[in-house]
């Protein structure tokens, strides 16, 4: 065996051979675009020519009322999804895992199905259900309640009902399953001893379930923060393209797409992306501190 071959097969070199694809991919498809994105956010880019403009894009962003709308929409959407998509799935998971629910397997299988449908298909279905036509599902409901038809997707709060219902429809089952798997990892004897100590169902939930399911909760909050802040396609499908009346559906990524892809203003769009990253990181750090993840476990 040649020296090189011997080295290649040694236990010292083998792990590096295994992780090589990751290192390459990290450098080429993560670090490079990330750094070039940061650089581009300080540049003006038009058809091959680049020039540094310093922080001009960022100061322009602060005064850009479309951008401010986009940020407030995205943050608002994220907060609302957190309010809806953490407690409800958690309670459903507790109910699902309790002794009183029958035929659990069936419900689990069905509740996951919406997550299989693409955003194109589910967005189209919801757009049509919330159509302003009198025959649409929601307007039939209005007629049933004795109201006149509503142009759901044209005013903000009615449109956001559609947007949030779409989110709940797709992800409630998924989040519930995360919590179910978290609940399964809790030692059942803890509940028995809580019962011996005279805890009722509510106390068991507060003092046993909630603290022990915390890792799962943190995980679900983290992915929800990211998903909420970078929401784009849902709005893109609901309004059939990247523009909504009075920008009620404009999000940060929607604006990034508009400036970068539709208007080919890459420098400005990259600055939008950097702001998104900063917001995401700040919220995550706050969240991790608040939930005590950085504290050393004893």
């Amino acid at each position: 065996m040649s020296k090189f071959k011997k080295l290649f097969y040694s236990q010292k070199v083998a792990p590096f051979v295994f992780v090589l694809p990751f290192i390459l991919s990290l450098l080429i498809f993560w670090a490079y675009p990330l750094i070039s994105g940061i650089i581009m956010s300080f540049q003006d880019i038009s058809f091959g020519s680049r020039s540094f403009v310093g922080t001009a894009h960022y100061s322009k962003l602060l005064k850009d009322k479309f951008f401010i709308t986009a940020v407030s929409n995205s943050v608002e959407y994220m907060l609302l999804t957190l309010v809806l998509m953490i407690p409800i799935p958690l309670l459903l998971a507790v109910l699902m895992e309790s002794r009183i629910t029958k035929a659990k397997g069936v419900w689990k299988v069905i509740m996951y199905i919406p997550a299989l449908t693409s955003v194109v298909i589910s967005g189209m279905l919801f757009r049509m259900m919330f159509s302003e036509a009198a025959g649409s599902q929601m307007n039939q409901l209005m007629a049933f309640l004795g109201r006149t038809p509503i142009a759901w997707l044209k005013t903000k709060w009615t449109a956001w009902i559609a947007l949030l219902l779409l989110c709940m429809w797709r992800w409630t089952g998924v989040n519930m399953l995360y919590f179910v798997s978290g609940l399964k990892s809790i030692d059942g004897s803890l509940y028995e001893s809580a019962e011996i100590d005279g805890c009722n169902a509510k106390q068991k939930f507060w003092y046993v379930t909630l603290p022990l399911i915390k890792p799962t909760t943190i995980y679900v909050i983290t992915i929800s923060v990211y998903a909420g802040l970078s929401m784009f396609l849902e709005s893109f499908m609901l309004w059939n393209g990247n523009s909504s009346p009075k920008n009620i559906g404009l999000t940060i990524v929607g604006y990034l797409y508009k400036r970068g892809i539709e208007k080919n203003d890459l420098g400005y769009a990259c600055a939008v992306g950097m702001v998104l990253m900063i917001i995401a990181l700040v919220i995550n750090v706050i969240q991790l501190i608040a939930t005590g993840t950085f504290k050393k476990e004893d």
């Binding site: 040694s10 792990p15 990751f22 993560w30 490079y32 581009m40 009183i100 449908t117 890792p215």
Partner: protein
């Protein structure tokens, strides 16, 4: 659920609670089935009805036809043949892209996770930290520079352009690592004594043992790839290369002239992923909850 009361009262309370809880899930599943059922029913009606009336549950069987599906399969004249060919080209593109993505992603992520888990070496902890770090940057931020890069690398408008940037999926590496950590490392030493090389062990010994992990990652990866839209939409430029999701999106016009094809095509487009899901659903739940338990 109270500790008070006679056993008989407790039992009847329990039964009532059981009916209520199960009933809640029945109603919930009804809401979940609703849009899909409405879509399915609408696919048996002319597409323009969808534009004129919106979508609602409509059990009027007398006006139902299979015309949309005839059109979809190219059985309703020349236009239909052209549209059908286009649709199934997108369908085929999606299938090929999904199969390639699943096979390549799983293999690469498996070997990376193997290297990160089965050995002790310098930089190991740091490399794993980097895996987590890549998860903390939303893809949308990298999207534009990546688009430029892919253009410069001349893999724009190709499958490689879609697949390569996502090949080392952090969550997949993370899951494989999680799974392998629970396996005994003594196996490796035994195989080494038998004269197996490091690479031989990873393929012949470990791969068969990690089969369940492969199954759950395969379905998650297949779902993600079949439904992926944003990045393929940027990379693919020719109509002939579009995936199903991008193609369906192009049918969504304000004029509603393509809605026959759109509604039938959408319903037909859910089928592959639904079939895979129903076959592998028990693995899926293990897969998607990998990160949640240990945090």
């Amino acid at each position: 659920m109270n500790n008070e009361g006679t056993p008989r009262k407790m039992e009847s309370n329990h039964r009532l609670a059981s009916v209520l809880a199960t009933g809640l899930f029945v109603i919930l599943c009804g809401f979940i089935a609703f849009p899909l059922l409405a879509g399915l029913l609408a696919s048996f009606r002319p597409g323009r009805e969808l534009v004129q009336n919106g979508l609602a549950i409509n059990f009027d069987f007398s006006t139902m036809t299979v015309d949309n599906y005839k059109y979809l399969f190219g059985l309703a004249g020349d236009n239909s043949k052209v549209d059908s060919a286009k649709y199934f080209m997108w369908y085929k593109n999606s299938l090929i892209l999904t199969i390639l993505t699943v096979i390549l992603t799983l293999l690469v992520c498996y070997f990376v996770a193997y290297g990160l888990t089965m050995y002790k070496f310098r930089l190991q902890g740091f490399l794993f930290f980097l895996v987590i770090a890549t998860m903390c940057v939303p893809f949308e931020i990298l999207m534009l520079p990546l688009y430029q890069e892919v253009t410069a690398l001349k893999i724009i408008n190709t499958r490689a352009g879609v697949i390569l940037p996502g090949l080392c999926a952090a969550s997949t590496i993370f899951f494989f690592r999680q799974y392998m950590q629970s396996l005994p490392k003594e196996l490796l030493d035994a195989a080494r004594i038998d004269g197996c090389t490091e690479y031989g062990i990873s393929v012949k010994i470990m791969m068969p043992i990690t089969k369940p992990a492969f199954a759950s990652m395969a379905i998650l990866c297949a779902m993600g790839s079949w439904n992926n839209m944003l990045w393929p939409m940027l990379v693919f430029r020719d109509t002939s290369k579009f995936t199903l999701q991008i193609g369906l999106n192009t049918l969504l016009t304000p004029y509603g002239n393509n809605y026959d094809l759109l509604i039938a095509g959408s319903m037909f487009g859910i089928i592959p992923i639904l079939v895979i899901y129903l076959i592998f659903q028990k693995y899926l739940i293990d897969g998607m909850t990998a990160g949640a338990v240990k945090g």
